[in-house]
Amino acid sequence: MNPSGNSCGSFPAASPFAPVAGPIVRSVTDPFHGDLLEVSMGPQHPSTHGVFRMVATLDGEQIVKLKPVFGYLHRNHEKIAENTSYLASMPYTDRLDYLCSLSTNWAYAFAAEKLLGQPVPDRAQYLRIILAEMTRLVNHSCLVGFLFNDLGTSFTPLLYAFREREKIIDLFESLTGSRMMCNYQRFGGCRVDPTPEWLEAARKLVENFPRFLDEYERMLTGNEIMLARTQGIGRVNAAQAINAGLTGPVLRASGVDYDLRKVDAYGFYGRMDFRVPLGDHGDTYDRYMIRILEMRESVKILAQAFRDLPAGPIMDPKAKQRGHRPKAGEAYGRIEGPKGEIGFHLISDGSPNPYRYRVRPPSLINLTLLEDMCLGHTLADSVVILGSIDIVLGEVDR
């Protein structure tokens, strides 16, 4: 246990999973230091993303202990799902990670189709890839905007990012009927077939999305203050990240090559040609840059998907519309959501309601190493580190 006696001390210092972040924490008893100052940030705080609370114990400026507190947005989503039908849980999955409802819908539909053994037509698979990648663009641009807000700019990068996000969100609204609560996927396909005009508008929008990324990178990636505030902050090495179950951009920033779109190649990602960017330092700057590079890769995937979108039905003709009663059994379906691996573990006992409905929340599990990342840094850095992990409280607390 390191002197501050926090949970990350369950690993001996020598093991590869010991915390590596920040300068070694001073022992807190030498005369020059006053007593520790306990600062509780949140749940009502401008820079915690939603109702998230961190109790940080400060020794002067340095963080000695940091305890996240959860539960302020807990609705027991899983108990609700156990008391309603399979179809009725679909709109609730929009409310898990309310920034990327379409990819969470896909994860739930993917798991349910695995449970039902339900095939999905080609056009629906392509539509799912298109909408999931557009959701990745929305989520990453939001995240990058909020990260700079934590770094202290007066909303300028956030508003540039939101200007682009709004265009994509308007496309979602004209297709699914709602900006963020799309409720679009069904077991066996999609709900609405996009019109040719919609596809043309989406293709053109995605085509000049890189122009926004270039403007963004020119404004911020080389900015000296940005480099000083994020490089070397909140470092996580590969072994530590894997062991703590980090997934998504946070994991790839530490140099671990693990992207479910390549590993599982679920849906039609096998046919898509794209690259997976990897970081070397695993600090806040890498996590920011990986997301920018992932947006560029998503634009490539979208271009290919729009080009090869086949005609055909969007819903498997034999698929039931409601009243699904899967045979007793269980299934675990997982996809590469913008925040990491989002998975649904469904157990059915033949009744119309699932017996057990479990969501694997990437936001919550990515917070496992929050304390290790913040040790030794100042409170201003902990705000930036939290911003770089990209959490959404709907998914953390469920």
Partner: protein, 415 residues
């Protein structure tokens, strides 16, 4: 005075003529008092209106930087007495008055444990001292509120009391976080007071005087009829101006250094326990400080009320001063819309390891400049080259040590 005045174009004389006309109305003994009261009134009213429109200009400019409109809703009430209902939004110009009324009507909460006297005194001291700094700024050719021999020293003497007020605000709120924030703000102000004054020393060294009026007059020369002799166009002057800008940003807690107020974890810093008009006073003091320091920057480096070229002299001098002042304020707002915030240790390191050494070297550079004033012809080019070298090389060397280890990275892709 009036002999020189007579030869000036009418617009130049207008403000003084107006004042003398009003002073004549008063009975003889009160005329001396009237004369000074009008100057004080002009300065206080002028710069308060300037403050009011700076706030709305800041919000509209920031809006435009961020692809949105600034405030344009506060307007004259629909059933106003105006005969014609001009588009009653007035393009947001009525926003500052709306803010003032809001600040006045907001309840002024004083925490029970607060030290009542100090809590009340802090905003008063900070606004009083920042208003006093306007006394020595030469707004126009003859428009100097007070002509002092040691004007620069007076300016910094008046400006330094804001630290005291900041401490009083932080201490009297009896709140752990506001005291912590006050300490941080003090550390920031003190560590940036040095580069601020050091960047002004070269000007005093070259002109040999502390009086702002004399400094502006010494910048009144144009070579080849076109290039003004403003100090910003000399190598040491340019370096001094940049250091002055950075130090001014820090002194007035503006964008990259707005640690105390907008600190994400101490929320409102030493102003947490203030509300209502006292908070507005702190806000006003910050803007007065910014305007005063930009005014000083214009006076010292950008040639005060001097016109950029002789043939532009017909425009009255106070318009030139106001133009340059607005230019600098726009630059501050532009910086606020773009840059991120520095951490407290980076901020103090930037001052002690980067700005202070550069400012000291700049004083040496100015000394070299004034000693070699008599070089002419080819020697002049050598003089400029040496001066430029003295500015650029330390900047590059110190810059490299400061940003050691920080560079944009290239990324590999999974095979």
């Amino acid at each position: 005075m009036s002999a020189v005045l007579a030869s000036e174009p009418f617009l130049e004389r207008a403000p003084l003529e107006l004042r003398d006309a009003v002073v004549q109305l008063l009975p003889a003994p009160a005329q001396w008092l009237g004369h000074h009261l009008i100057t004080i009134l002009a300065v206080v009213l002028g710069f308060s209106l300037f403050f009011a429109f700076t706030t709305v200009a800041e919000r509209k400019l920031l809006g435009r930087l961020q692809n949105r409109l600034g405030p344009n809703r506060a307007g004259v009430p629909k059933f106003s007495i105006l005969p014609f209902h001009l588009r009653h939004k007035l393009f947001g110009l009525s926003q500052p008055f709306a803010d003032a009324i809001k600040a006045l009507t907001k309840e002024d909460i004083v925490p029970a444990a607060a030290d009542k006297l100090l809590h009340f005194l802090a905003p008063v001291v900070v606004v009083a001292f920042s208003l006093m700094t306007f006394a020595v700024l030469p707004v126009g050719r003859h428009l100097v509120p007070v002509e002092l021999d040691a004007a620069l020293l007076y300016f910094f003497a008046a400006g330094c009391a804001s630290e005291l007020a900041l401490f009083m605000a932080g201490w009297s709120s009896r709140n752990k976080y506001s005291l912590l924030a006050a300490m941080r703000a003090l550390a920031q102000l003190i560590s940036y007071e040095l580069p601020l004054i050091l960047s002004v020393v070269p000007i005093v060294l070259v002109t040999g005087t502390l009086s702002t009026v004399a400094i502006v007059q010494s910048q009144g020369v144009w070579s080849f009829g076109l290039l003004p002799h403003w100090f910003v166009f000399t190598p040491w002057g340019f370096a001094g101006f940049i250091i002055f800008l950075i130090a001014t940003l820090a002194e007035t807690n503006r964008s990259p250094f707005d640690l105390p107020e907008a600190e994400s974890e101490l929320v409102a810093g030493h102003l947490t326990e203030y509300s209502g008009f006292k908070y507005a006073l702190f806000f006003m003091a910050e803007y007065f400080g910014m305007t005063a320091l930009s005014g000083l920057g214009v006076t010292l480096f950008l040639g005060g009320w001097q016109a950029p070229a002789p043939f532009l002299e017909f425009i009255p001098s106070y318009l030139w001063f106001m133009g340059k002042l607005v230019g600098m304020l726009v630059f501050f707002i532009w910086i606020r819309g773009t840059l991120l915030r520095l951490r407290i240790d980076q901020l103090t390191r930037l001052s002690w390891q980067f700005l202070v050494p550069l400012a000291l070297l700049n004083v040496g550079n100015a000394a070299f400049w004034s000693l070699t004033a008599h070089w002419s012809g080819p020697l002049n080019l050598v003089r400029w080259a040496i001066a430029l070298a003295l500015v650029v090389t330390p900047f590059l060397l110190l810059g490299r040590t400061l940003s050691a280890g920080f560079a944009p990275r290239t990324y590999r892709y999974a095979s």
